[in-house]
Structures are given as structure tokens and as C-alpha cells.
Amino acid sequence: MAEFDLTVLGAGPGGYVAAIRAAQLGMKVAVIEKRKTLGGTCLNIGCIPSKALLHTSEKFENVNSGDLSKYGIVLSKPKLNISKLMENKNRIVSDLTKGIEFLFNKNKITTFYGNGKIVTPSEISVSNGNGNKTITSSKIMIATGSLVAPLKNVTIDEKLIVSSTGALDLKKVPNKLIVVGGGYIGLEMGTVWRRLGSQVTVVEYLDRILPGMDSEIAQKFKQILQKQGIDFKLNTGIEDAKTLKNSVQLSATNNLTKERISLEADVVLVSTGRIPHTKNLGLEGLGVKLSDKGQILVNEKFETNVPTIYAIGDAIPGPMLAHKAEEDGVAAVEMMNGVAGHVDYNLVPGIVYTSPEVATLGKTEDDLKQGNIEYSKGVFPFSANSRARAINHTDGLVKILTDKKSDKVIGVHIIGHEAGNLIHEVATTMSFGGSAEDIARTCHGHPTLNEAVKEAALAAGTGAIHI
């Protein structure tokens, strides 16, 4: 008789949510976590600290930029106490990790701190500074998440050449920051430090930023970031990096012109992606099948090829997002217990927490063009939304894509203030297979930013009213 019904490796958003749901369904659950705190990358060195810094850096910029004088609020130049800034961030992280501890206690989940390694399909060994321990479990779930993708010839020391982890903990504001990689992590971190005073350059290998997102949206967003003062070097690949005493020298190549360029910065942020964390878990020994990218392969029940071993989140294929991992975790655990479960990877929102925010869900216009799918499009700019004008947040637009025949909403892309919140009314509509007309005929409060969503929905059909 195994000690536990389910052991989850990793207490990140995928793992801890799966553990709690499993406990709710009556399973005896253990969680193994290698960090000293729960919450995984998201809570400790990802989503949460970055959102905290984005919030506080925005506050700093509001005062520092002189914008407030436009409203008649006259202030002298503010000073930045960076250690206090980080203290606030750390306190928020700490509160939340303690919160998960509380939830684990409430649900009678046993936590083991240390490195977990699957020994047999029903045994896991946990090792930490105090030694080794083996636990038995009927089912095992791998929720070990992902790691920063390494960049060839560039060694991350988390001091001068940093990953997002180091970027969240810099001791002083770099004069010049180079962000390698124009994805959402790079753009968010670049925004934080630009607001705090850095001169930021984003170096991106492709000819566009935010790979995978709707190209029209990515292009418009880049223009907005440029207006804010971020410099972009697209089509540029980093060859190598050399750290000097207090700076970094990068050599790069423009992959169109083949021109060689030299770049220098106080700090370089490497944010070229993330890779699944599936090494040193004992998987090879057990014959668990992986993809050539190192992702654990699973079926629709999240089972690996080894019957008692499951995997979810960043460790398996699919969008590497915290909320996707949470959905995976819940679905996997529910299916273990006779509840029907399904995660629609087409309906996982993607959000960039800059200012303005970017939020996307469903098909991009590029997808539809490529797939020769007949669609209708409704676009509405925030410059025509009365609330956006009232609060001086007029950048951006809402773009809704619908099936031409049935008016079913198949994609939505938003650049704007609160885009990450606004998108959820469309997410609900899409989960019911609703149409743009359904959104357009739902009463929206006035004056709200959501009215821009309503107008875009109208634009996709009979025509917007306010433009």
C-alpha cells in the first residue's frame, strides 16, 4: 500500500494547483519542491515579482517623467531607493509563497523540500542537505516546469549578463540595458528598467517582436514601445558576449546584411526563451518518452508512456504559461478521478504586462490567412473610447476575428490599458462558441474600456457606432 495516492514533483502553478485539486477529490497528496519556498518560477522569479516591479516602476515613471505636470500636479524630481523597491517585491513574493503553504496545510498535503528523482514508477527519492528519503506513491505527476534557454557563447552570471531571474534583482539601475530576445519576458523587463531610467535596446533575431502573436498587433506594439524610447535591432543575432569589469561587450550579426556590429551595455538580459526542465528526474532510466525538444510526451489524459507517471505544464508541449499549467494540472487530476477533463490549448490567453498591455486569444489573422479561412474582422481604437480618453490611455486597439459564415468569435487581440483584463469577456464568449453579435448585444457599462471590445464586435458585424 503506497504512502501517497499522488506525488507531484514541483510546486509551481501547475503542481500546486494539481495537488490542491487532487486533495479536494480525496487523494492523499505529497509535493516535492527543490526551492525553499513554494510557488515555482511563477511566484519566486517569474510572473509575480515581474508584475510587482512593473507596477512600482510605472509609479516611478509617472512621477519622474514630468507627465503629472500636464495635469497641474507639480513635483520635483523623485529619488529611487532601489533596495526598497526590491524589498516590496520580495515581501509580496514571500506573502504569496506562505499563502501556498497555508493552502497545503489546509488540504493536508505533505511537502518534501529537496530534489526529487523518480526511482521506479511508484517510488521517488528526495534528497536535500540533510540526506535522502524515498517515498512510495500510486501515481506520480511531473510538474517541474522550465528553465531559461541558454544562448550560445553567452554565459549568464546573473550579475552583468542576467536572465529574468537576475533582471528582477539588479542592485542598481543600469545606464544601458540590452535585452536579447524580443518576446514578452524581454519586453516586460526592458520596460521595467526603461521606466527606472535605463536606456534600453532590444536585440531580436527575427524580423519582428513577440513571435507567434498576431503580426499586425506585434508591429503596432513595437511602434508604441519605440515611442516610449525603446530601441530595436531586429534581424540581429548575438555571436558572443564578453564581460568586462562593469560592462558587457556583445558582438552581433545582422542576418540580412551579414554586417557585423558591436554593442555595449552595463547589463545584458538574455531572454530568448525557456526550455522544459526534465533532466535529472530519472526519466531516462524509466524509459519515459521525450520529444526532441526535451518535452515529456503525454496523451490526452496527461499520461506518459509509463502508466503511473503523468506530466503537465511547461514540462510538456503547449504554451509555456502559468495558467495553461494550472488548467493541465486540474484536468489531469480530475481525469484520474473519473471526471471528464479537457484543456483547449486554442483558448489560452497570452498577456504582456507592459503599458499598454497586450492580450491575445485564439487565432491570429496570420493563421487565418495561411489556412485560407474566410473571416471577418472588427477593429476599434482606444482613441475613440471615452474612458480611455478620460484617463489618458489612448494607445492601442481591439481586434476581433470571426468566422465569416457563422459570426463565431475565433480570435481576439488587444493592445491597450488593462488589455489583460478586458480579454476575459471575449474568452468567456469563445468558450461558449459565442458570436461577435452576442458580445455586441450584451450591455456594457459606460464609460468603460470594455466598450471598445463591444465596438470591435459591432465592427465585425453591422458596423461600429463610435467611429
Partner: protein, 407 residues
Amino acid sequence: MTIELLVPALGESVVEATVAKWMKSSGDNIKVDEPIIELETEKVTLEVPSPVSGVLSEIIANEGDTVEVGALLGKLTEGENITASSNTPNKETSTKTVGEKPEVSSDKKNNDHLSPSVQRLVTENNLDVSKVKPSGKDGRITKGDVLEAIKTGGVSEDLNQESKTDQKISSNQDDFLEERVPMSRLRKVIAKRLKDAQNTAAMLTTFNEVDMSEFMGLRTEYRDNFEKEHKVKLGFMGMFVQATISALKAFPAVNAEINGDDIIYKKYNNIGVAVGTPQGLVVPVIKNAQHLSLPEIEKTIRDFGLRARDGKISMDEMSGGTFTISNGGVYGSLMSTPILNPPQSGILGMHKIQNRPIAVGDKIEIRPMMYLAFSYDHRIIDGREAVSFLVKIKEVIEDPRRLVLGI
């Protein structure tokens, strides 16, 4: 465990059936005893319930196929239904639908509240929502479903809309073997009303026979006098209408109507008399027939007859009936089961008068006999009443003196 779904015994002498409709789709969850397939035989349509709870895993006989008793219709996988919450860990997930979106048929509960776009389309196009095939979450109807349904047609509630298929003209080589003629509006209306009548009332027919000799004797004796006095021929209908009225007085439920959850008892007798015309059957109504004398009834009927042939009977004259009499005898019908004229609860069918040998006391005599049929709505008229009603009519016809005495 796989269970085979077989064609059950269909009744004596019925050896085969047609698969009319699968009420569940492959992959659907089913509960034990839930109807899963509809089979049609020459005598009856029957629903076959599921022998187990589980999933319909395979459909083998398709809609339209002819199947014999004992034939394989489909396969079921036995197992627990998927439920929304379970407190037992490590429960075996035994159905195919785990991890997939199960197909569902239009769920009435989830379509109680229609989405805004669906509501608009349904209202604008006067649609019958129950006829739209849903594709949304949990069987909800989406805008696309309604648009599709409008395109393919057949969901309109409004009978007066011209059906788009009306104008299709057959233009292939088989023209000389078949001729496609669109139904006239009148015929479409009649067809719908007939089906409505059948679908609403619990319709039964009770029979009796009436010895017409007494009335025919009366007729022979007073025919000329009657005609001279009233300027109208003495037929049979006047007599039957009056006999019917005395029976309606004795059994008021026959003159009543079901309306929602109420029964409306009417204190007047508006008797409809069916008249055949080249365009079809029309039923003009003799209003307040209980106040008319026999000659007045005969006059009214004659007048209706003449105008019906020319199509000159107004809508008002054809509505408001509380009971109908139909005479198939003029065409030669000996016996029939008339269909109710909704919202009425009863209809009397008269038939051909034919000399037959019948027993009178201990002797056999040849009498002019008519079979009478009384179709009624069993929801408000019970068997005893129905039989007695018809017997009363018979008694009055067989002894017209009863009319004078009011018995």
C-alpha cells in the same frame, strides 16, 4: 464490457422494422432504460431503451436501414456515467468520452436562455428553436447553428411562409413517370391541422349501428308535405343534427373543449357539417343549432351546400364549432374512423345506409342499417360517456318520437 443492442421482438407477425432515428450519437453517455433508438414497423413506432448505463460506442444499423428481429443495431460500452464530482480516488475511468468533448443533442435546459444573437434570429425568422441542431457548449445553440438551420430550411414555425422548395420543378428524364406538384396552401393547412389533431387529443372511435327504418318510414310519409310547407327537401342531416343535440345535452363533455389545463363547457351547440368540395373538405357551422327547428336546419345546410361548391363560405361561418358531423355515406363508406376537428372533442361519422339482415327479436329481417362512428377525445370524454352518447343518438334516430318528448 461491450453490450450488443439488438432489435427486440416487435409484436406478432412483425418480422422487420426500419431504423427511424438514433436518439443518441456515437460517444454519448446513456443511462439504463433511456430511449436510444426509434424503430418503425408497419403497425407502430417504438422506442428501444438502453439495456445498460454507459456509452453508445458504435452505431451499426443506420437510419433508414431495414432490420430484422434480433439484428445488431449497435454496441454499448457498459460503465459508470461521468459525474461532475467524485470523492473516491483512483476510480476507473471507463468511458470513451474522457478527454474529449461529448456530443450532445439539443439540451432543453441549456437552451432555456438563448444568446442575444440567437434570440434575434429566432424572433426575426419565426423559428422553432427545438428544430435547430446545436453545436455549442453543452448543447447550446449558437448563432452559426441558427444561420445554418435557416439556410437548410424546415425550421419555420410560420405555416404561411412560402416554402422555398415549392417552386422547384422536376426537370429530369423521369418527368413522364412522375409529376411533382407543390401542395396548395389549403392542402398544407389541412395537413397540418390533421396532424395537430392527432398529436394533441387522445383520439378513439366507438361504433354503433342504427336501424333507419323508422325514420325512413317517417320521411316517406311526410316528405311531400314537408317540402310544400318549408320549401326545402326533408333529408337526413336535419334529423341527425337534432339527435346529436339531444345527446350533447345529456353528455355536455362532448360539447366541451380542453384549453390549457381547463375544460371549457359551452352552453351552445354550434354543429359543423362537413361538406365535400372540389377543393377539399370544408366544415361550415350551424350556429346555435339548439335553437333551430328541423326545417331551419335543413335550410341552413342546403344553403351551405350551394355556397360551398362555389367556395363562398366565409371564415366566420367555418369557425366556432363545438361538434362536427361528417357523412361519408354519400361516397359509399360503410364504416370509418373520423378525425377530430380541433379544438372540438367529438365528431360523428355517418355512413351509407345499406339493407342488411339483422335480428329483430327472434326473427331475421332486412333493415336499412347505418353504421355510426363517434371519434372522441378521451382526455375529457370517458369510454362510458362516449358509448352512451352514441347510443343516445341511435335511440333518437330509431324512435324520432323521443325528440318530441325530449327524451
